[in-house]
Every structure is written in C-alpha cells, then in structure tokens.
Amino acid sequence: MLVDKYASQIAAILARYPTDQKRSAVMPLLYLAQSEYGYIAPAALVEVGDLCDLSPTEVASIVGFYTLFSDASFGKRRMQICTDLPCALRGAEAFAAEVCQKAGVKPGEITKDGEFLVETVMCLAGCDHAPMFQVQDANGIHYHESPSIDQPLTADQALAIMDEYKRTGKSS
C-alpha cells in the first residue's frame, strides 16, 4: 500500500494544498502510484482516491484525460520521439522511422524484450535540438537531445541510449 510505504512523501504532497482542497493532490499522487506499480491499476484508483477524497471513477477520469498517466502497462519504460512540426522540419520523422526499424518495432509497439514502448508524440519543447525524445519510467521523465545544434542526435546514438537503460536501468 502506498500509504504505508510512502507516508512522509504523501504527507508532504498533501501539505502543499489547503486542507480543504485535498483533490489538488490527485496528480502528484498518481505519479507516485504509477512509479510504484508501473501503471495505474484499478487498485491504485481506489488507493489514490482514498488519499484525496475522490471516488475511483473520478480518479479514472483524470487518468484518462492526461496522457502521461497510463491505465495499461507500457513495458518497463516508454520512449516518445517528438515528430511534431518544428522537429519534423528538421528530420524527426526519418529519425523516428530509423529508430523504430533498428529497434524492430512499429510506432506504438513494445520491443520484443519488453524494455521499451516506442511512440511518436506531439511537441516536447525541445524544437531547437531536434530530433529529440523522452523516456518515461519509474524514475520520472527524462529528455534526450544533442547538446549541440550542429550535431543532431542520430538513430544509432538513440539506440545506444536505449541500451544503456536496458543495462543499467537509467541513462547517464
């Protein structure tokens, strides 16, 4: 149970909002639940709802509305490559296609080893460093982009970053 394992963290989250506005804590609590369980399972809807005075149905509506919450497992982590307009103008669609081909998946599929769900997504506010992608896992969300605009990220570099996640569970 979240309430036993993360008592102080939960208290700190609730303390950020007025005592009669516990509902405001629903999104931070969902992030906590997702990091604990990998996705928002039905039991988590009840747990989170109990903590912030919402019914499981109300919590489910939040999970359904916001794309960074998932009610289904996405493997160990999900890789989201931005192919929105500014990135697409700088070759992100070809980059995404090459990453998918080399990882042996189509966009929206999980790699055979279950390590990555690979998706294309809308703008991530990294347009100047296109192409770029983010990885969402139990430890949060992390951006991966080339530090230099003169040397854009290559598909092979992306594959190397994916390998590092597989080997170490995180990226450097």
């Binding site: 999104m27 347009c127 100047d128 949060g140």
Partner: protein, 456 residues
C-alpha cells in the same frame, strides 16, 4: 561574436548563475528584499504598470494592469505561474527554469508580494520532470536561506512556492484550464467571466502569469521602469525571447528587444535557411499562428505586438517557425491539425468535431485522395470552428489551416484527383504514391468517418 548583455538570459553572461551564492553576488534577491521591506503592494503594481511590461505567454496583456484587477478585500489570494510551455515551437521557459531559475523565482516572489498572495504554484508540463526536480531543490535552498517562509526580512509577510506538474495536456496552458488542473480536475477551460483575478484558484482572486513575464520583474524593480522602457518599442517595451525553429541553420532562443525584424533574427542570427533555400512562410506564434509569407515585406516587419498584428499575424509567445520553399502547406496543415485534434479537450463541440474533420480531410488530401472541392470543404469546416468555443484552442486549430489555404491555395489544389496542372515538387508527405487518375466521384466523400492514424 561577443555575447550581448542579456536581461533575461543572464546565465549566458554570468557563469553558474543558477547557484544561489552566485545569484546573490550579482544582486540577486535584493529586489525582493526591497519590495518587502520598503514598498507597498500597490507601489510594486504601479512600477510594473509604468514599465509597460506585457504578458509574454501569448496574449500580450499589460501585466501591471492584470494585477490591479484582483478583487479588493478578498483573501487568500494566489499566484499561479504558467510554465506549461506546450505550444509547438516554444522552448524559452524551459531554458529560463533550467539555467536562470533564481531570477525567475525572484520574479514569482515579487509578484506574489504585489498580489498579496502567501502561496504560489508553478504549473509545469509533466514532461519537465527533471526541471521540477531541480527547482524543488532550489526552493528547499531558498527556505533554508530564509528567502521563503514566515515573516520574511522581519516583516509580517510570508510566502511559499510549490511546483505542480501537469501530465501531458496542451490545453492546461489556457489559464482557466490550468486552474482546474491544479484543483485536481480535468484540464477544461472555464466560462469567463468571472476572470481569475476575481474567482481563480479555489474561487479566490488569482494572478496567472507566464514564466518569462515574471523573469522580467526583478530587473524592472532593480533598475526601474524608466530604464525598462528604453528597451524595445514605445508600445512593446522590454526584451523578448524569440524561439527560432524549423528550417534555419542555427535554431535556438534569441533574446532581442521587441521590434527587431524577422530578417535580423532569421538571417543575421539564425544563419538563414540551410542550403541557401528561400523562406516560403513563417509562423510567428508556434503551430497556432497565422501563416505569413516569406516576402520582403514580412521579413522586414519589426517583431512587436502591433507590427505583426498589422500584417495579419500575432507575436504570441514569439515562437518563430521557418518554413523553406520545399514545404508543402497541405502537409503543414495536416501536422497542425493532428496536433489540435489530439489536444482538443473535448468540451466544446465545434472544436472537438471540427478538429476531427479537419484532420480527416487533410489525411486524405495528403494521400491525394481528395478532389478540388474538398479544399473548400476544409475551409468551411475551419471557418465553422472559429469564434465558437470557450477557449482559443478552436481558433488556434483553424488559423494555420485557413491562412495557409489563403496564401498557398495551389499547394492544396495540387493534391486533388481532379486537378488540372501537375503537382509542384513539394515535401513528400504522402504515405503512398498518388493513385492513378480516374474519374472524380460525383460528390466528395467527406461525410464518411476516417480512422485516426496511429502514431502521434
């Protein structure tokens, strides 16, 4: 080339400015101390009004005036910062929070004091997770240093700031949807009035300002409104961060006085278009903006609120997306329509249904499956969205479609099965080659729902 002297991107002049001691050695938090110990909230509001600072999130509303609208005598009040930064082509608030967090937070603190708020929430898009982790540490440091907390500088004023992460919804950049989201609800816009200054967060008087707007505030207090007005133009004073992206050699954030020209930004600073190609079109405010042509008239237009509006565009968040001569505008309209269809919150029918139909038509158009009349149909659908929704998202979706048809109709006609001339060599957006020419159907088959493609 020597770095210019920055007002907002000061971390580019001063190494390690993200560290508290370095920031304080450079006069940091003196402006906050000054307002709390020697100015009334009204005096702070008057100073910001006098500076002419206008909101940098998109609308360009005068900041001091916005603060003065707070309903008198009702407490508690709140300050919420809009760090949602989700407009395609916008990446300035991210740099400020990553590299110059103290100047941003000092702006939050001064604004909270002016608004007589004791709590401020910084609403960031969920993807800014690592930035939030960094800012949480900075906030802890500020509490430790006595710059946040009870009875600041020995006065009766108390303040705390909390980060609040969104979770992947563009609509939460709309101020009332943002407030709903902090309240733990779906990020759907509210009917206005009442405006946030009257009934905002938890139905209390609330100021909502953009990250970049607030990063201006410490400099205005430290150096004075009169100094601030020496930068920029008379009606658009101050510096602005322009996010340059798309078909340019050197994309990135460029801080310039308001009123610099597109040509200066794109050619002198951005290095022009790769391969020496021509600028076909410019989007000035991200994916939601009017498409302007790359004509000399536009390139020589000063980038300020009034001048761009006079050309039929808007400065917005100053997210300049450059489109070179190879870009097919039907492809561009598809990209923006996919975005807005995905991000429509579903509350208002014209936006929810209209974005669906625009995308559907444009998907088929980009596969060369439409007829000439479908361009008119697309225009009709887009026109039916504009001005009919609670928030501007519907207009945002329609604007790039309508303006690109207006300026570059031939790009759309070129995809029609019943077109007369050959298609120009454009960006290959079609997933498969155009089908062999055959007789056009008697009626455009546009009333048949199309499956939404996987991917985005």
């Amino acid at each position: 080339m020597a770095e210019p002297e920055y007002i907002l991107l000061r971390h580019r002049n001063i190494p390690d400015l993200h560290k508290l001691d370095v920031y304080r050695q450079n006069g940091g938090y003196e402006a906050f101390k000054k307002v709390v110990t020697s100015m009334t909230p009204q005096q702070v509001i008057d100073e910001i009004k006098a500076s002419g600072l206008r909101g940098r999130g998109g609308a360009g509303f005068p900041t001091g005036l916005k603060w003065s609208f707070l309903t008198k005598g009702v407490y508690p009040r709140y300050l919420t910062v809009n760090s949602d930064e989700s407009e395609p082509g916008t990446f300035k608030d991210r740099e400020l929070m990553e590299k110059n967090p103290h100047q941003f937070l000092e702006g939050v603190m001064i604004t909270a004091y002016a608004a007589e708020a004791n709590v401020a929430y910084n609403y960031m898009r969920g993807e800014f997770w690592d930035i939030a982790v960094g800012l949480d540490q900075v906030l802890a440091e500020l509490r430790q240093a006595g710059l946040l907390g009870q009875n600041l500088f020995g006065t009766s004023y108390s303040l705390d700031i909390h980060n609040h992460l969104g979770a992947g919804a563009y609509i939460c950049g709309e101020e009332s949807a943002l407030l709903e989201s902090i309240e733990g609800k779906l990020g759907q816009p509210r009917l206005k009035p009442p405006f946030p200054a009257d009934k905002g967060l938890y139905q209390k008087p609330t100021v909502v300002n953009n990250t970049e707007t607030l990063t201006n505030v410490p400099m205005i207090i430290a150096r004075g409104a009169a100094w601030y007005k020496t930068v920029g133009t008379e009606k658009s004073p101050g510096p602005k961060i322009f996010c340059l992206s798309g078909n340019v050699v050197r994309p990135g954030n460029y801080e310039l006085p308001l009123g610099a020209t597109f040509r200066h930004l794109i050619y002198d600073l951005g290095g022009g278009v790769p391969g020496g190609k021509k600028v076909k079109a410019i989007m000035t405010a991200g994916a939601s903006s009017s498409v302007l042509t790359g004509s000399d008239e536009i390139l020589d237009t000063p980038m300020d609120y009034e001048s761009i509006a006079a050309k039929g565009g808007a400065l917005g968040s100053a997210s300049i997306i450059v489109l070179d001569e190879t870009v097919d505008m039907a492809w561009l309209a598809l990209k923006t329509s996919r975005f807005f269809k995905h991000e429509s919150c579903g509350k208002c029918t014209p936006c929810r249904e209209g974005t669906y139909w625009m995308q559907s038509l444009l998907e088929r158009m980009n596969k060369n499956e439409t007829v000439l009349a479908d361009v008119d149909l697309l225009q009709n659908v887009a026109t039916s969205i504009g001005g009919k929704c609670l928030c501007p998202l519907g207009d945002f979706a329609a604007t790039p479609v309508l303006t690109s048809i207006k300026q570059f109709r031939a790009d759309f006609d070129a995809h029609a099965k019943d077109k007369k001339a050959a298609a120009p060599a454009g960006r290959p957006a079609a997933a498969r080659p155009a089908p062999a020419a055959r007789a056009a159907p008697a009626k455009p088959a546009a009333n048949k729902p199309q499956p939404t493609p996987a991917g985005d």
